[in-house]
Amino acid sequence: MARIYEDLTTIIKRSKITLYVLAGLIILVLVFYWKIQVLDHQKYWRMAEANRLRELPLSAPRGLILDRQKVILADNIPSFKVSLVREAVIDYEKTIDSLALLLHLNREELKKRIDRYRFLPAYEPIIIMDNLKLEDVSLIEARKDEFPEIKLEVEPRRYYPFGLTGAHLLGYLQEVSVDEIRTQPEKRWRGGEMVGKAGLEKQYNDILTGREGKILEMVDSLGRPRAEISRTEPQPGRNLELSIDFDLQRKAEELLQGREGAIVVLDPRSGECLAWASSPSYDPNRFISRFSADEWLALVNDPGKPLENRVIRGLYSPGSTFKVVMALAALNEGIITESSTFYCSGAIELYNKEFNCWFRPGHGNLNLPEAIRNSCNIYFYQLGRRLSIDTIADYARLMGLGQKTGVDLPGEKEGLVPSTDWKRRFLRQAWYPGETISVAIGQGPLLVTPLQLACLTSVVATRGFKVRPHLFRGTGNDASRERINLPEAIIEKVIEGMWRSVNNQGTGQGAYQPGFEVCGKTGTTQLISRETAERLVQRGVEVKKTHSWFTGFAPRQNPEIVVTVLVEFGGMGGQTAAPIAGQIFKAYREKYVRQTNLQGD
């Protein structure tokens, strides 16, 4: 053989073994790939999907709240915010310079703000300014192309265009609390979501809140959106049309300006509330901007209690307005007729105690209409002596006192109608007949809310029909109209007294409106708390030591409107509350009655 071969068998054998080992390893690796790719495919597929998909919520605009003439009381306004996307910044210093100039911001503060969020990924926008003014928005919009690193975003935000107006009935929004999210999982709230926390915003939160939409988008490894996969449009919330008349509402609040008190105006035929004022008020807009703990505490601890809705949460003695109930009870129980007279000498001794009439010289002999006209205490003491407290309580409850009116607002209080049973149960004492005498003129433990008194007046005005007061027109709120067990003729006799009170130089003459036949009853309640009075003195307000009531309706035939006014520390009912009510009757008449007359012509 010519070929000269070296003996390479050993090393070739060794190389062959190496090949087998390598081949074995490759097969092992393949098995491993098989496990990942085929056996665990589902798991990794899900992980890949989680990587690439991102869900973005689309917030639904909240329903609007409108008055009966569609004036918007609670609106949504676009809230603009400007963010900086650092990813797109080319020259950092230059960007800051021009942004500071564009948005009128302090350059150093802007820089500090951006630096504070350095740790965030560069694609995540940093909000540099929110709640932008409209002119700033248009400025930025106009120069959008010059600033690709700026992102202008818009989000619907609740806005109450009239601020303080109607604050107590509208309520306010606040961030949903962690507890609420936890305890009501079916609502599927997100952290930071704004929900109604008071007033109509709370009562009708479910109606007002729309259904949130969502975007499913594809993102890359830096979280940048690449494509939209699907989109569910948000469903805006339903609008809430109220029975409130914006003009009357404004008027009522104007009349309470600088005072603490409440006014409620009802349509006795339907229970629709036309005005609802509680003073002092607050600006619900402040809740939207997530204000600080200090601001919140200041509002809660304000001695004037601006957050309190006095119309349904203020508890007051009804004072002489309760004489309406007394008169109805006495007439219906057959104790008196409208012509029964009692003599008023200015004072009377009952159960070994002297009780005074507010008119010290005395009213002399008077019948029921005159007693109501003059609000004579002695006359009603006489009725109180002849009626048991339990009978009085029955009639008070019949007229709607001591129970919720069922108005569509949260947090309503029940008030208190005392009875022997009540006293036994809560004070563990027997009822003294002397206490009945106090109750007869609306004092004693008796407590009512202004709305209860308005409803009571409404029953009188309709000659015996009870309606449920409400603010939202719709969802069968109008349907409830219920006849109470009291003859029309008896109510008519009390109305005669109420008419005289306003139209015949009675205590309610301040509410007189020529040609509108206002009927009403004043009330003056003795003050319980003196501290409140002293506080008002310090504020420089002229202090009367009594709360001032007026409740009435007009016109006498086919009444259209019930007005109830309470002015805290307003002095005699006739002095303060009645003229305020008169202004409201006037405003109502000018707006509605003249119109119908013109139409009639």
Binding site: R14, T18, Y33, Y44
Partner: protein, 363 residues
């Protein structure tokens, strides 16, 4: 000097397989980084043509001659590596690149060929049954010097690819067990010293990542996690070319270089992966068959060491993608984007082809 007959012996099968794998690589480089692909793809195509040309030129030269000039070549390459440490341009925190206009080259890739040539020269007349102590020390130093210089750049991944060459020498020479024990002892000691005094933090992190891959979601653990998600979500048949979410949305790191196999696995599935593995296996097998038909000892050494280098690099890369090996930045031969590594692998393969076509020279 050239015998015309040997041209008939040019191993076109090997060349074809290499071109196929390289083309698959270019196709997936395009998929992985299509947004800036033109630049990358054209460069890689040019590199492929250059490499092919270099291979054809290289096989003209008898490997015996190449071995004869191996020592100066080896010294030259080491001088370059040493010079890089002092004068090299810092690219991605390492001084491993020579920048020549638009092209950059990593000399440590080419140095491996010089190392193989020197080793072949060293052992071409070595007829002992087992590796002598002197042989053990010399071969270890020959490989260790450029590997150390590379590790200092610092490019731990490339330095690591020197190791299979040395292992190849140990295997062929039939190293005794006592040397194995010495090596293990040295590894343990250097490991201990290195861990505490020499390794940079990022290097330590990479090793730690292998042990606890889920601890650091954005570091190397993140890379491994994304790589496994890409491979696993590909399933049996894959998501389709250019449709891999992990690669297209850039969750996958180093998609066009070290992790390109994960792109293939995601987009072509297990079946596609099997195909690529098949081509590699054929290539490796073909290399081995050259070892067996080699005319002389030097040829065996050349072919075997090149085979070891390429096969191990392939194996380490695919193990790395699924967490069977630390993520060390080792590209996969022929498939990954990268000019000098492609050129180096073609040149290395040219030695194998060289040996095969000259197996009958004494006829």
């Amino acid at each position: 000097m050239l015998d015309r007959r040997i041209f008939r012996e040019i191993d076109s099968v090997t060349i074809l397989l290499m071109v196929v794998v390289s083309t698959v690589g270019i196709v997936f480089v395009y998929s992985a980084i299509y947004f800036q692909a033109s630049q990358f793809v054209w460069r890689q195509i040019i590199w492929l043509l250059v490499s092919l040309l270099a291979l054809l030129v290289a096989i003209m030269i008898d490997y015996k001659f190449l071995i004869s000039i191996s020592v100066p070549l080896y010294i030259l390459m080491n001088v370059i590596l040493l010079g890089l440490l002092f004068f090299g341009k810092l690219v991605a925190n390492t001084r491993s690149w020579i920048v020549l206009g638009p092209f950059q080259a990593q000399p440590s890739e080419v140095t491996k060929i010089a190392v193989i040539l020197v080793l072949a020269r060293l052992f071409s007349e070595y007829r002992e049954d087992h590796l002598s102590f002197k042989g053990f020390v010399v071969s270890s130093l020959v490989v260790g010097l450029p590997a150390t210089l590379t590790a200092l750049q610092p490019d731990l991944g490339t330095a690591l690819t020197y190791l299979p060459i040395l292992v190849g020498v140990y295997i062929l020479t039939g190293m005794r067990r006592k040397y194995l024990i010495i090596i293990l002892a040295v590894v343990l000691v250097t490991g201990f010293v290195g861990w505490n005094y020499a390794l940079k933090d990022y290097q330590k992190k990479r090793i730690e990542t292998l042990l606890t891959p889920n601890q650091d979601p954005r570091g190397s653990g993140y890379q491994l996690r994304q790589s496994k998600i890409a491979i696993g979500s590909g399933g049996l048949i894959g998501k389709g070319y250019h449709k891999g979410t992990q690669s297209q949305l850039r969750f996958l790191p180093a998609r066009h270089t070290d992790f390109i196999m994960a792109v293939i696995a995601e987009e072509l599935g297990f079946l596609g992966l099997l195909g690529v593995f098949g081509i590699y296996f054929l290539l490796i097998y073909r290399f081995f068959s050259t070892v067996w038909v080699s005319a002389d000892r030097a040829g065996v050494y050349l072919a075997f060491l090149v085979t070891m280098m390429i096969a191990c690099q392939f194996l380490i890369n695919v193990m790395m993608l699924v967490g069977l090996f630390p993520i060390t930045g080792i590209p996969i031969p022929f498939l990954s984007y990268g000019g000098s590594s492609l050129l180096a692998n073609f040149l290395a393969a040219s030695l194998v082809i060289n040996v095969r076509m000259r197996r009958f020279r004494y006829v």
